[in-house]
């Protein structure tokens, strides 16, 4: 599989080392290979022991496996980060403004900037939320914005995750493990800390307490339970915030007030950081058979007695077809030019775009609009003839369900592989917290495609992670 000649290596490895990586380069050259191999094994033992595991569906074998962790950090200079940070803040403000708008006056639809069909006929649009006012008008309190880089100053947003983005525990734990393994490296590097993410998250959640909350808000984290693939993260975050980790059966709603069952009786709950999809959150409103949420949560919210974070219906902003219009949202709501670029995207529901996609399918990445986690996705340049044929059949049958994007030459960062050190493609998921103000912990989660030439970084598809450094100076 040939690589485009223009792949940007963020380190400039091996012989054109970019300034932010000077220390990493010196470190890699000075530490003997066998010691690094030893540290890699140590890292794995640490992850296992701490129990940072991830459940992968549909496969046999070990149900709790590790996401491979790569020791070589991904480094960003402070200036690089600052420009990203501003763009992220702007984008998430626009996303929240958009969600608020579509559940209220629908100005952007009336102005014809976004097709009405795309929003009102979208399964992620929740009529239950129409006319409901939320604290600080925030819907996506925790957003994960997936970014890729193709050159020194070229960043693209790949997708916005406005519902229940995961992965932040790896951001924090990767740092923790790196600092345990290489304390001397951190003494010299001046890396912006990430360990306060839990504090920032809790502040954010407390700042969106519902109008009827009396005194200090009680915040809990709602998990589907230990069988969920991200359970470790739920427990981790609850722990970092020092709040209760609850399951649906621990909650109940009486007279539109939410309580949890505690050893001393019922305790009132004000804010729920929920890691359960809309469909399962409240069986009285959505799927009636769901045992994961609790009946009445939505009514408690409507009554001003409860805040759900993220809000029901936030998913309308991260649909892959709506994604195309995010730059327009920035212009419409903020009156600013977007600082972060979208990947040019073909909407296959349009005949011209579909024709283009079919003609260039071997060069494009085609994604299912409602898919996630790297499923339902075709990477044209890397697909076999048979794979393309099967995919084209699906695409022709339901063109509305697909969008297509050029195959970007994703940047690489040197990574440990079997044969030594080699460049591997990476992306970045920063986490943007919105409450009374926007908070972003510097960096984010770097995912790395471990297979040679692969562009798919999802952990369910053989991706790994790296520690992400933002240098303080």
């Amino acid at each position: 599989m040939s690589e485009p000649a223009t792949v940007f290596d963020e380190m400039g490895w091996p012989d054109q080392i970019r300034p932010p990586y000077a220390l990493v380069d010196a470190w890699l050259k000075s530490v003997p290979a066998e010691q690094l191999a030893l540290k890699r094994r140590e890292a794995e033992v640490l992850f296992r022991r701490i129990g940072i595991t991830f459940a992968v569906y549909t496969e046999g074998g070990d149900p709790e496996r590790l996401i491979p962790f790569d020791l070589i950090p991904r480094v960003m200079a402070q200036a690089e980060w600052q420009s990203l940070r501003k763009g992220l803040e702007q984008r998430v403000r626009a996303l929240n403004a958009f969600i608020h708008d579509v559940y209220h006056d629908r100005e952007i639809l009336k102005a014809g900037r976004i097709p009405e069909r795309l929003v009102l006929n979208n399964p992620q649009f929740r009529p239950e939320m129409v006319g409901l006012d939320l604290p600080h008008n925030v819907y996506t309190h925790i957003a994960g914005i997936d970014m890729v880089r193709t050159g020194p100053d070229e960043y693209y947003v790949l997708e916005d995750n406005c519902r229940t983005p995961s992965g932040v525990s790896y951001m924090v734990e990767n740092r923790e493990v790196m600092m345990r393994l290489f304390p001397e490296l951190f003494r010299r590097a001046g890396v912006a800390p990430v360990a306060h993410y839990g504090d920032e998250l809790l502040e954010t959640l407390r700042s969106v307490a519902p109008p009827n909350c009396q005194g200090e808000p009680t915040v809990v984290l709602l998990t589907p339970g230990i069988h969920n693939s991200a359970y470790y993260e739920h427990a981790f975050l609850a722990d970092e915030m020092g709040i209760d980790l609850v399951e649906g059966a621990d909650l109940l709603v009486r007279n539109e007030i939410c309580y949890m069952r505690s050893t001393s009786g019922l305790t009132r709950v004000d804010v729920i950081y929920r890691r359960i999809d809309d469909d399962y959150i409240d069986p009285l409103v959505f799927r009636p058979e769901s045992m994961l949420g609790a009946p009445g949560l939505h009514f408690a919210t409507r009554a001003g007695n409860l805040t759900l974070a993220n809000a029901i219906g936030a998913g309308i902003a991260d649909d892959k077809a709506v994604y195309i219009h995010v730059p327009e949202m920035v212009r419409f709501y903020l009156g600013e030019e977007p600082l972060l670029q979208n990947v040019p995207t073909h909407d296959c529901s349009k005949p011209d775009d579909l024709a283009y996609t079919l003609a260039h399918i071997d060069q494009l990445v085609v994604k299912a609009v409602h898919g996630s986690g790297g499923y339902g996705m075709l990477v044209g340049p890397h697909a076999s003839k048979a794979e393309i044929e099967t995919f084209v059949a699906q695409l022709k049958a339901r063109p509305h369900d697909y969008v297509a994007q050029p195959t970007l030459a994703l940047s690489t960062v040197p990574t440990f592989v079997e044969s030594g050190i080699a460049p591997r493609h990476v992306d970045l998921r920063p986490f943007v917290l919105s409450g009374e103000q926007i908070r972003i912990v510097p960096g984010g989660l770097t995912r790395v495609a471990l297979r040679d030439g692969s562009l798919v970084v999802n952990s369910s598809q053989g991706g790994g992670t790296k520690d992400t450094w933002v240098l303080e100076r």
């Binding site: 296992r48 022991r49 701490i50 129990g51 339970g225 230990i226 359970y231 470790y232 427990a235 981790f236 609850a238 722990d239 709040i243 209760d244 980790l245 609850v246 399951e247 059966a249 621990d250 949890m260 069952r261 505690s262 050893t263 001393s264 009786g265």
Partner: protein, 313 residues
């Protein structure tokens, strides 16, 4: 605290305590069947099954209690919910469900035990390996108990953990003693004989009290004194009185209790504690040790149910 969290901590500690007890029981049964002078080595194993409280379930599955069948059933059988392997598995499942309520040291102790258990399970078992395994179980359970005692905040979570551990221990001690008094002495002539002597020594070994007995009573092993040690001596950390003292202390320390809900479990615990605290061994034996002990086992069951009801588990 969240009721489910309290319940998970309670069961986490119970299952760890049970794993420890089963490992001790199997070690001593193995030891005893080796030193038996008569040919009937298997009755040791049958008594181990009785002392584990799973007589019925075991004989529903196995014809006879032999070294092989009992060790497999009590240590490894995944079909037996109370086998050592399942105890550790269940402990870990409970721990995982309440990770936020555990200290990180505690989680690592439980999780590492579980990971090492899987290594044991995937390797072939022979006599040496079994000894290693049982020693390992004792060491790991001690570690888990030590770690929680040394790292947990003295708040409700700790108290529920403590109650789980000592309720299980009381139950085990009572069963062990009861089995020795009634299953293990086939004929009247055996009482006071060589076999009997080894039996009582074995009881002391299971609860790790050989030396404690010597310190407190000096001299020959006497059944009545073994009973006194295991039931009434407050200095001995596996005695029933010690266990109930711990249960009462921790029940009383639970901060956020609703008095209407939790009064019944406290009543049961305190009345039992008073009976033990002021009890004397002679009248207990005169009125029937078996009756006393089986009533106590029932009480433990009732108390467990009331604690759960009283704290909305």
């Amino acid at each position: 605290m969240l009721a489910r969290t309290a319940s998970n901590l309670f069961w986490l500690a119970r299952y760890m305590e049970r794993a420890d007890y089963l490992a001790r029981l199997l070690q001593v049964a193995g030891h005893m069947s080796a030193v038996r002078v008569d040919a009937d080595g298997n009755s040791e194993w049958e008594s181990a099954i009785a002392a584990a409280g799973c007589h019925e379930e075991f004989f529903g599955k196995h014809e006879a209690a032999t070294a092989g069948s009992v060790i497999d059933y009590l240590a490894f059988d995944r079909g037996n919910p109370s086998s050592i392997c399942n105890c550790i598995e269940t402990s870990r499942r409970n721990a995982r469900a309440v990770r936020t309520a555990l200290t990180s040291d505690m989680w690592e102790a439980v999780n590492t035990s579980w990971m090492e258990l899987r290594d044991f399970e995937s390797s072939e078992m022979n006599e040496d390996r079994l000894t290693e395994f049982l020693d390992w179980v004792k060491a790991r359970t001690s570690l888990v108990h030590g770690v929680y005692a040394n790292t947990m905040l003295r708040r409700d979570g700790f108290h529920f953990t403590r109650i789980g551990q000592f309720l299980e221990r009381a139950d085990n001690t009572a069963r062990l003693l009861d089995v020795k008094y009634h299953v293990r002495l086939p004929t009247v002539q055996d009482v006071g004989g060589v076999v009997d002597y080894y039996q009582w020594l074995a009881v002391l070994r299971v609860v790790g009290a050989r030396r404690a007995y010597r310190v407190l009573f000096k001299g020959h092993v006497e059944p009545a004194q073994v009973a006194e040690l295991l039931i009434l001596r407050p200095e001995f950390p596996r005695s029933l009185v010690f266990c109930f003292e711990q249960i009462c202390l921790n029940l009383d320390a639970i901060e956020s209790h609703d008095p209407r809900l939790s009064s019944e479990c406290k009543r049961i615990a305190h009345s039992q504690y008073a009976a033990l605290r002021f009890g004397q061994i002679e009248p207990i034996i005169e009125q029937g040790l078996h009756e006393f002990l089986s009533e106590l086992v029932d009480r433990c069951g009732l108390l467990g149910a009331e604690i759960a009801r009283g704290h909305l588990f």
